[in-house]
């Protein structure tokens, strides 16, 4: 099967997964106690006004009918009105999502460029002090949650050393670049505004690094284990016995099979990154989806809750398709088996 057909097939499955997710979250949000219409208006609002809003939100209809209305709206490009912002949830999400995506993107970049080299190094120098150092760090990284790192970074780099900004996406007075993708670093590069890029980057470093530490530790451990395992495999010994240069063995014959588990786990990392991002965003006052999502939940803003969960699910699903495609490119066996199905 060609790569493009494989991707199309995976996208097809994803649609069903998202449909299932939407039914689940739609129902869950509505069966929880609390009257969203009453919460949206004030406790002193007259009963007729609440009833009118309830009618407007179709809350008096049976659940399946409500869902069908919601689905109809989705296909016409709307996620419904938010009771908090009084705007379409889709408009809200397009405003807040890019900040979160940018944070996730940089956390992933840190994850990949740090975890793989230190994991490979530790694996090749197994049971030496370098390996012990990496393993020690990995234990700390795996056990301490991201928000603790976030607070520690805030204290050390923002408060004591004062070398990195700790609030928001840009320094006060810096004009955001025209919105193209919504990711300030990318937009500022596209428009050639380098000083804005640097400013945005300096704001990104602490939160994205705090977010990335857990996955870095996790990935470094997996890469190390995989390298140690592969180093004792006959095919690596055979390469050595044929006199292949060490650099080529490490960067080609050892790296590719060793990275297969690492990349597979990356898909799971993305889920945990998105979860922790909510807390890290709160700590660094990052204007992403977290505040929006938290307020939506506290105020029982039904459409916003469903919208946030659906978008999170979508990001996770896309990320996993990308991960699976990379894995299938790395491993011909998976490629052939998966695509033969």
């Amino acid at each position: 099967m060609r790569l493009i057909t494989y991707i199309a097939k995976r996208v097809g499955y994803t649609v069903f997964v998202l449909l299932g997710l939407s039914i689940l979250i739609f129902t869950l949000a509505r069966v929880l106690p609390g009257d969203p219409a009453r919460m949206a208006l004030s406790p002193r609002a007259p009963e007729w006004a609440v009833e009118k809003l309830r009618e407007q939100l179709r809350l008096n209809e049976p659940l399946p009918i409500q869902y069908i209305y919601w689905l109809r709206d989705v296909f016409s490009g709307s996620l419904g009105e938010s009771l908090v912002t009084r705007r379409d949830v889709l408009t809200d999400i397009t405003e807040f999502l890019p900040a979160t995506l940018e944070l996730l993107l940089f956390a992933l970049i840190f994850d990949v460029i740090i975890a793989i080299p230190i994991g490979m190094l530790a694996g090749r120098k197994a049971n030496t002090w370098i390996d012990n150092l990496v393993r020690g760090f990995a234990y700390i990284g795996v056990t301490i949650p991201a928000f603790v790192f976030a607070i520690i970074f805030l204290l050390i780099f923002g408060y004591i050393l004062q070398i990195a900004p700790t609030v928001g996406r840009l320094s006060p007075g810096v004009m955001p670049p025209p919105r193209i993708t919504g990711l300030i670093t990318i937009d500022s590069l596209i428009t050639g505004n380098f000083s804005t890029f640097v400013d945005a980057l300096s704001h990104l470093i602490l939160p994205s690094f705090a977010l990335a530490l857990g996955p870095i530790a996790q990935e470094a451990r997996i890469t190390r284990a995989s390298v140690v395992e592969n180093l004792n495999k006959d095919y690596i010994l055979a390469s050595i016995s044929h006199g292949i240069p060490e650099r080529l063995i490490v960067l080609k014959y050892l790296m590719r099979p060793s990275l297969i588990p690492t990349v597979s786990i990356l898909g799971l990392d993305i889920a945990s990154l998105m979860g922790w991002a909510f807390l890290v965003e709160s700590i660094f006052n990052w204007p992403g989806m977290s505040r929006y999502g938290i307020i939506a939940m506290l105020r029982k803003d039904l459409n916003a809750i469903v919208g946030v969960v659906m978008v999170t699910g979508l990001v996770f699903a896309i990320a996993n398709i990308v991960v699976d495609v990379i894995v299938s490119l790395l491993d011909p066996r998976i490629r052939m088996v998966e695509r033969a199905k």
């Binding site: 095919y235 010994l237 390469s239 044929h242 006199g243 099979p257 011909p332 066996r333």
Partner: protein
Amino acid sequence: MSSTLLNVEELQVHFKVYGGILKVLNDVALTVNEKEKVGLIGESGCGKTTTMKAIMRILPWNAIVPKAKIYFKGKDIMKMSDSELKRLRRRSISMIFQDPTAALNPVFKIRDQLFDIVKYANLEMGKNLSKKEIEEEAIRLLREAALPEPERILDSYPFQLSGGMRQRVCIAMALASAHELLIADEPGTSLDVTIEDQILRLLKQIVEEKRTSIILISHALGAVKGFVDRVYVMYAGCIVESARTPDLFREPLHPYTKGLLAAVPKLTGGGIPSGIKGRVPDYMNPPLGCRFVTRCEYAMPICEKKQPRMIKAGNDHEVACFLYGE
């Protein structure tokens, strides 16, 4: 007699494991002459592969080598520099691993793997081949290993080939750099007997044509019998007997060799062969004296106290056993 190519003396290899140290190889000594076909036999786990890995210097990280003299054309492999070692591996010695499936990198096409080997083997001989020349050479090697449709093989991943094909690919890879000595670790054992036989015939034909030496490791005595000039018998990390092939089969001396030969079922009947009772000793605490003492039906008091040395027992026939003197 032709000159010595490989000479191993007093080779000891230990392995550090969780519970202590496994003293696997105990003063292994063997010699391979130019153009000679040598067999190394013994049951599984007796250190045959470890000996070969020590020669190639590809022992795993937990191996300790307390003592080793491995001379290749008079030069000590253990003391070779990185570049000398590379030269040796690219030009002189090559090893065919026991399991061809494990010896091929699963995520690269044969093309990638074979091309690199050909490239560096030729680079060492001062020939910087172009991509096209590398391909021609690779195809030639695959043909030499009797593989039909070499172009298709090049574009396959290992898992797309049959076991016999993988074995032949491994042979082709070894041929790129084995200009003086080929080490074949139980070639074909993982395949069915017809294919195994084909592989052995092919190897024999190749080494005779190219006039290279070969060390054939095997536990199949029949395979060794029709192939090699001389046989070493190994037991629990020690060489216990060495002789020219016909002499060994006609008149085995060491009780272990006798048992080994008796363990082969015969077509003429006589029931299930007697075999050798017991198992290879614990390498953590090997017997102080002869390592075969626990299983030997001729064991004497001295066997438990002293390690037997190899003694001359005939023309080109040596044995490490107190039954034949000290």
